[in-house]
């Protein structure tokens, strides 16, 4: 009797588990389809000839419709290798500057109390509200004065200035939720403020840094406006500008247009995994050496601290007794 009851309950919960799982996968797979269908469609059709593109847009390229004429046109007419290396140089350099300088500023704002702290914070995130494009004319004049027109450096500087506010905003928000104990413990261990930043704070905020990197990267890689105004020369053209001008020239040649779109898409797909992967890797500060306080006095204070404060500490770091259990995760 009790046996059947419990097995019934088990079966019921298992059934619920299965139906939930089906629903979850249904929604996710359904939306995934919507997200990638247009992209797949363009790539498929880029391998067809003109007749194939129009008579059977949804079909796979096959006999009679398969053709590489679009790619031939693109590769002979456009200089996509240069465009790509330009985009890459600009994006990577600007991202590095945004993350490094942004995290440093956010750390200062979140960690220290000094005069004008709030004011500087507001000043730095002002740029979120103010699209940097609103100052385009002044930026152009400035670049002319600095002799930076038609250089990648001009783009890097503008994109760094553009990306900093969002980075500082998100990182400051996040750094305020970091447990203070871990930093204070490092101070007790005698680390300088710079080492605390680079060796304690940066590892802690790595997942958020990755997220910020992704968000800052998108507008830079995709921007059309500043390449057009500041660096439209052949040697400094970015992919977005290159593709845009190419499409403008070849609007009637559908295979060439689809091929150029595909060429612009493919490296993005290739970069996708490395870009997204680190964002969600869970990290454990407990693994890092030299961060956990060794003094019994500190340990005691941490413990009393942890029991007296209502907040939950960052994944058990506050309590040294938990370390062994954490390491396996």
């Amino acid at each position: 009797m009790t046996d059947t009851a419990s097995s019934n309950r088990a079966r019921a919960s298992r059934a619920k588990g299965v139906s939930t799982r089906v629903a979850v996968h249904g929604v996710l797979a359904g939306y995934t389809l919507i997200a990638i269908f247009p992209v797949v469609l363009v790539i498929l059709n880029s391998f067809k000839n003109r007749r194939g593109i129009f008579t059977d847009p949804l079909g796979l390229p096959g006999e009679g419709t398969f053709s590489l004429e679009g790619y031939a046109t693109v590769l002979t007419q456009g200089d996509f290798a240069t465009y790509f290396s330009n985009s890459l140089i600009v994006t990577v350099t600007a991202l590095f500057l945004i993350l490094l300088l942004g995290a440093m500023a956010a750390h200062a704002l979140a960690e220290y109390r000094f005069r004008f702290n709030t004011l500087l914070g507001i000043y730095l995130i002002l740029g979120i509200m103010v699209p940097i494009r609103l100052g385009t004319v002044a930026i152009l004049e400035l670049m002319v004065d600095l002799n930076l027109v038609n250089t990648l450096l001009a783009l890097i500087l503008v994109y760094t200035a553009q990306g900093l506010p969002v980075a500082v905003f998100i990182l400051t928000e996040f750094m305020r939720t970091l447990s203070r104990d871990i930093k204070d413990c490092a101070r007790v261990d005698g680390l300088s403020e710079y080492r605390i930043f680079f060796e304690v704070v940066v590892p802690l905020i790595r997942p958020v840094l990755a997220t910020v990197a992704v968000f800052s990267m998108i507008p830079i890689w995709n921007d059309l406006w500043f390449p057009l105004i500041l660096a439209s020369g052949d040697a400094t053209k970015t992919v977005t500008l290159g593709v845009q001008q190419f499409i403008g020239q070849y609007t009637v040649n559908w295979s060439a247009v689809l091929a150029s779109l595909s060429i612009a898409i493919l490296p993005v797909l290739g970069a996708l995994r490395p870009v997204l992967a680190p964002a969600y890797r869970r990290h454990h500060i407990g693994r890092r050496q030299g961060l956990t306080p060794h003094h019994p006095e500190v340990r005691r204070s941490v413990r009393t601290h942890a029991t007296r404060r209502p907040q939950v500490l960052w994944r058990g770091q506050g309590d040294p007794r938990r370390r062994p259990a954490n390491q396996g995760r």
């Binding site: 005698g190 710079y194 921007d223």
Partner: protein, 325 residues
Amino acid sequence: MSDPTTDKPEGVPTRPAGRRKRRRAAGAHIFVFLAPALLIYTVFSIYPLIESLRLSLFDGLEDGTAVWAGLDNYATLLFDPNWATQFWRAFWNNLVLFFIHMVVQNPLGLLLAALLSLAPRFGSAYRTLIFVPTLLSVVIVGFIWELILSPLWGVSETLLGTIGLAWLYQPWLGLESSALATVSLISVWQYVGIPMMLIYAALLSIPDELIDAARVDGLGGWSIFWKVKLPLILPTLGIVAILTYIGNFTVSFDLIYSIQGSLGAPNFSTDVMGTLLFRTFFGQQLQVGDTHMGATIASMMFFIILVGVTIYLALVQRRLQRYEM
């Protein structure tokens, strides 16, 4: 990296419970942390903006010099019938755009993030693929959708036909009644990955201990989501909302410009503040570029965004509770 002698270890942290006290100011390292960011940001972002605000208070003469005009440019923009119709129409279109993003993009992002946080199989594959459109350039996205929705190619008509809805098909991008909504949905399609990622990261940062505690207390999956997780990620939802509001005035330009051109075709039905600014600033077929009116529109956008952000900071942000997790 620095000399450790200047950083005397402070007393063991035994501050009263619940009070968050920041460290006292101590010299050079604060300056070192802040200076590089402040310098680049001030020179390339704030100074050009101030310059543009200044330009909006002047009027250009034929010979290229500028004279003080006070608020005349603003009066022209808001009350001169030639400008006012364009301005208010663009402003209204921006509000519609914002509304569609708030009711479609952000709930969709929350739903996807919540489902992903259940760690289903292939979770990272879903996440990656859903994020693909976000990484694409607006030029590409605009062109892809132009092709797909084009009656010339007929892909969307064929697709609707397979589910028996071919009669529903219209050239949505070309109709005044549907162009703005269509462009908004294309933008949602492209950018839903951003709220999804932000919310997903926030959901992941919730400590397992809290969820376990809720489960021990007898809460089910739904209750845990609504009563534990959602309150904890409210600050993130606030960030998403305000980023949507701001992006709506800035980013929307790119997509509309690349699909509908700087005139907000058809018949200005997708004209937003960004396209109006671009048109005014750089001119178009029948109109010479006007630096000072352009600067005025740019400044108006600045004030509109300022109002929204002030409301957010004063009303929303202040009431949100942050938890140390």
